[in-house]
Symmetry: C2
Subunit: 190 residues, 2 copies
Amino acid sequence: MKQMQEKILEEGTVLPGGVIKVGSFLNHCIDTTLLAECGREVARLFADDGITKILTIEASGIALAVAAGMEMGVPVVFAKKHKTSTLDGSAYAAEVRSFTYGATYDVQVGRECLKRGDRILLVDDFLANGHALRGLIAIAFQAGAEVVGAAVAIEKAFQGGGDALRAEGLRVEALASIEAITDDEVIFRS
Amino acid sequence: MKQMQEKILEEGTVLPGGVIKVGSFLNHCIDTTLLAECGREVARLFADDGITKILTIEASGIALAVAAGMEMGVPVVFAKKHKTSTLDGSAYAAEVRSFTYGATYDVQVGRECLKRGDRILLVDDFLANGHALRGLIAIAFQAGAEVVGAAVAIEKAFQGGGDALRAEGLRVEALASIEAITDDEVIFRS
């Protein structure tokens, strides 16, 4: 998606360790015009797939998930990273290791949110090593729901998580896929 | 807002300690049809106020903030509750005590996200004791931005946070305001 690539080139900054900072438009301050376009693009990509629910992970995945969910007319479920008094012990759970935060944590989804037979689209802001998506896949599996595909705003393809999931048969769509970062230059997969 | 009240009566459940569980449509599983209506209502309420930015707090505030922000055509900034490698030490910060989570934490907003002269609308899913909104007000103050008002999906008016803020001159709009909870009955402020 051209607008996302352009925005990354205009406003993204590369930090040490392969972290790309896109907080000025994607996951801290959100450009809602771009976000609405991204939501429409995700809806277009999965228009014929009978999606019944979008599953994402708090916090940065919620914005794109909501934009796509409103466009597609399906509910959005966001997995919680932290214990809360409103989730009981019966929730579906999986362990995720975050690249950006450098920590491992449990993600949880209440049993009432996912049903056997749901056709799930996974949505997130970033796809790096794929651990977050794998956590969501594990949760969907526990619920007996089918994961139809995944849509992410930015894939860091050089970290391999997206291609590993594709090799396992998952349809993974990235609005922008970064092949390499060299000397502050960002090279997109064509 | 009638639809929000009806949804609370249909699907909300009351937990011990005055916690209202609305995870089936608002802050875990999100009813995107209702959310879009809420976004339009927030946009209508603050249509004449020259809002330049929406400020919310991760994670549950993001959905309504994004729905309103897309409708109003303004960026959304969400304050972060957790340290991340993409926020440096210069961020604006405030301490917030969460009613639902029973914990105190720092919220942070990067300096590049808020500007002197910004006209800020605060958005959140719940307003109980008002600590989250006060944290966001402190952050806006640090940035030299003006807080024009606050819009929340559900106010628990019996906890007093909203009225205290109104008494201090802040315009606070709730899509549903709960006056009391008695024997599992939810009574709305009229």
